[in-house]
Amino acid sequence: MSGYTPHTDADVSSMLEFLGLSSLDELFSVVPEALRLAGGLDIPAGLPEPDVFAHMEDLASANRPCGRDLVCFAGAGAYDHEVPPVTRALASRSEFVTSYTPYQPEVAQGVLQAVFEFQTLVSRLSGLAVSNASLYDGAASLVEAVNLAVGATGRQDVWVSHGVNPSWRDVLATFAAGTGHRIHDIPLTAGSTDWAAMSFDDSDEPGAIVVAYPNYLGCLEDLGDARARCDRTGALLIVAFDPICAGILRSPGDWGADVVVGEGQALGMPLSFGGPYLGLFACTMDHVRRLPGRLVGETVDAEGRRAYVTTLRAREQDIRREKATSNVCTNQTLMAVTAAIQLGWLGTSGIAEVALRSARGTRYCRDALLKVPGVESLTTAPVLREFSLRLPLESEMAVERLADEGFLAGVALDPSYTQGHGDGLLVAVTERRTRAEIDAFVSAFEKAVR
């Protein structure tokens, strides 16, 4: 018996006797003999915890994590922002970690209130009235936003800026195979969405226009132009925002977004090799009945005391079944709680400070890299925490060379951003990068691209 099952031999015997059985195997007498696994699973026998931990440490030591030995200049949706001990400590409290979805609100006020606070924080950052309780990741939020827009407008043609994270667009295409939505690409010119290239007629009027702010290449897009196009066509405006940059940028809601989606990893989650992250999703009150996933609302208990509960449940799959607004059940609640803690730690002044310091580091690093011979900017619009370069060599080669020098130089751009060439590089600078690190990176960069 493993160390996690409390049954003594005497317990098992007495329980079997109570059931009138003589062996544990008899519990499975309903399983046809021919189907039963003879000889057991071809997996080694269980190992003691210290042995397993040593094995996992071996695997971990075969990676190169970001830190002093691999200074992080990579982003593309996964950022090296400060995660303080207080966030780690509170977010790892086992009451949050080992609870289920709050189906019994009387004993789940902790998670429910934390999620209510998370929803409030996301609403304020996005500038929209309602946020849900989280989705899997940024890509999943985009998929759900498009489904919402198609449902609201009855139009299945959706126009997506090429400045939206390419892996999110890939995920959108994967799921469109099931829903039948038609996804159209709006190209970029010098890093910004080329709105004039968007052409359609009555037969494919857009249900939604999707744009990122800042976009994948780091640029601040003209959301006013996007809003005007939505007003002309009746499409919903979906904005993929960044919750850290939102600390100093005009909010998507203020620009007129109908739905805001985002990746919340930067709000207290480590890089985590890509997950678990946090899908952010906010919309105007007009669309609350189409909101995907869970929503926590405030109410009162039988004695009039303030209380929280999941609400507008009739949208959800366990009640509405095939007519539900989404199939989402388990989402990323612990990450939402983490984000609420992190945003509480940052507070009103901290969120702006992180964004400002990231912008300063980005400006300093970008100016220096653009002085390196053969390196050019791919974009002209203003940038904030991330920027893209064209290198005089394959960017994957540059990343590998710089990794040898102790820098994760960035993320090689998909060739669609560089007219089919593999020489684009996306570089991110957060508030954690010091001037000394940036200076050392720039001088290693000069050698690597030579």
Partner: protein, 513 residues
């Protein structure tokens, strides 16, 4: 509530001793806020201090700061610690929530998930920086394929419902590749709600088949809807009544006969670990809920992980990129590959990676022997409770169950007015989480109880004793009233759900002033 009725030895999974100070409402973070207070501390960087106006054009700058909250670190810690005290959890006590497999979550998994060599790795780092992660994912994929009896798996889906939709998109791609257009997917009436919702998003129509008198798929009804427009069937086995579908092999043959595929919903995989495998039952596509079966844990509603394993013939359609062993002679040894006819990407990156690392840890500490014991003891615990409670509640399907049992409070309600919901609420103040109630939908006043393998006989006795006491008390008007008004001792009493929906307050800012 009455301590001397409960043997001292029952304490294991019973949480009624949990101390709570007072019954005040915890203020929100926004009410704790004081202008000018802060908690953040950031690294000294030496980067030139340019002003915001020099960095961001006016058109893009916000007019005023985003009002988040202004609290000290001490206030923050106090607030979230107090919230945690208002939350039931597996660590606090038994959580017999049917269909959710709320077992104990080994702490070693927490320790693994914070190893810097795993947690601080950037998902876009080049292959030679992530060899350990790729090997870990391949090792997990191999183990999950062995456990399910399948050939290959994707680890990208972030939860069970995402896994379901992945499976349906695999079905769609499989038929599209053959030039075969099929519209229907069959689902039993006892299925989880995610199944039909996923079918719609997969672009198929739901065809529901009823359960028979024994609680299994009505095989005749199933045969009558099988035709060449059927893409497949989604089944949970054991099903949501906790019963093993004994006719699974004939069902598989009949579905395969018309060219359809079988999808296994892994919600209940805990019951059969190391005993019988979905692949051997004839399933073509399987999703696993690692946050259930492999205790990764549940996080108050996620993160989960819903890997999807498939038989050989569907492997070329799996999502990409996939972690792949390139060969011991190659350098690096592991890399990413995308299957030839891949349905595409499902996740921003590679799935909920740290959840996957926890799952591998769980598999390794249990091993083949430990995993089989998980199933055997989970089934033992469920049957013990089923038999013990069958005199207090109706047992609509009175035969041996697997990892969970479904009882009904139908007679209790008729006799006393005490409903399944009241039993659930009353149980909370006995120190246990409630069972799942009113699911599956085909059972009136359903109480779905899944004790899991990590609760002791002493805890089961205490749990059964509490339920029996609730039923006995309901026989008197005072007892029935106590149940219908329960809970009394929790941080809040029964919550007004109708008001929450009618007067929607989804944020602090939407509160009526």
């Amino acid at each position: 509530m009455v301590d001397d009725l409960v043997p001292a030895a029952a304490a294991g999974g019973r949480a009624a001793s949990a101390p709570l100070l007072g019954r005040d409402t915890e203020p929100t973070l926004f009410e704790l806020s004081e202008p000018g207070r802060s908690a953040w501390q950031l690294r000294t960087t030496g980067v030139p201090d340019l002003a915001l106006e020099e960095l961001v054009p006016e058109a893009h700058r916000r007019d005023s700061p985003v009002a988040l909250a202004e609290v000290s670190e001490r206030d923050l810690v106090g607030h979230f610690t107090r919230l945690s005290h208002r939350q039931f959890s597996v660590d606090l006590g038994a959580y017999p929530l049917g269909s959710c497999t709320m077992k104990y979550n080994p702490k070693i998994c927490d320790a693994v998930a914070v190893l810097p060599g795993l947690a601080d790795v950037h998902p876009a780092a080049p292959a030679n920086c992530i060899q350990g992660w790729l090997e870990l994912l391949v090792e997990l994929e191999v183990a999950l394929c062995e456990i399910t009896g399948m050939a290959a798996a994707t680890l990208q889906p972030a939860a069970g419902a995402a896994g379901e939709l992945t499976g349906l998109l695999l079905m769609r791609a499989w038929f599209a590749a053959k030039g075969d257009v099929r519209r229907k997917v069959i689902i039993p009436d006892s299925a989880h709600g995610t199944n039909p919702a996923s079918v719609t998003l997969g672009g198929f129509e739901v065809v529901t088949v009823p359960s028979d008198g024994r609680g299994c798929v009505d095989v005749e009804a199933l045969y009558s809807v099988l035709d060449e427009d059927v893409a497949g069937i989604m089944l949970t086995n054991p099903n949501t009544l906790g019963l093993f579908e004994e006719d699974i092999r004939s069902i598989a043959d009949a579905v395969h006969e018309v060219g359809g595929l079988l999808y296994y919903d892994g919600a209940n995989l805990n019951a059969i670990l190391g005993v019988v495998r979905p692949g051997d039952m004839g399933f073509d596509i399987v999703h696993l809920n690692l946050h259930k079966t492999f205790a990764t844990p549940h996080g108050g509603g996620g993160p989960g992980a819903g890997p999807v394993a498939v038989s050989d013939r569907l492997a070329p359609f799996l999502p990409g990129p996939r972690p792949t062993r390139l060969g011991d002679a190659s350098s690096p040894r592991f890399g990413w590959t995308t299957p030839e006819r891949s349905i595409g990407r499902l996740h921003s990156w590679h799935g909920n990676a740290l959840v996957l690392a926890r799952a591998l840890t769980y598999v390794l500490v249990h091993g083949n022997d430990g995993l089989r014991d998980v199933a055997r003891l989970a089934v033992l615990n469920a049957n013990w409770l089923r038999k013990r409670l069958s005199s207090s509640f109706d047992a609509p399907y009175d035969r041996p169950c697997m990892h969970e049992c479904v009882l009904s409070a139908s007679s209790l309600k008729r006799a006393t007015g005490v409903k399944a919901l009241d039993v659930a609420k009353r149980l909370l103040e006995e120190g246990f989480h409630s069972p799942t109630v009113y699911f599956p939908l085909i059972v009136d006043e359903a109480l779905m109880i899944e004790p899991t393998e990590t609760e002791s006989l002493q805890t089961l006795e205490a749990l059964a004793g509490a339920l029996e006491r609730i039923v006995a008390e309901a026989a008197t008007p005072e007892g029935a009233l106590a149940a219908t008004e329960a809970p009394h001792l929790t941080p809040v009493r029964r919550v007004d759900e109708a008001r929450a929906a009618r007067h929607l307050v989804p944020t602090f800012d939407a509160r009526p002033s």
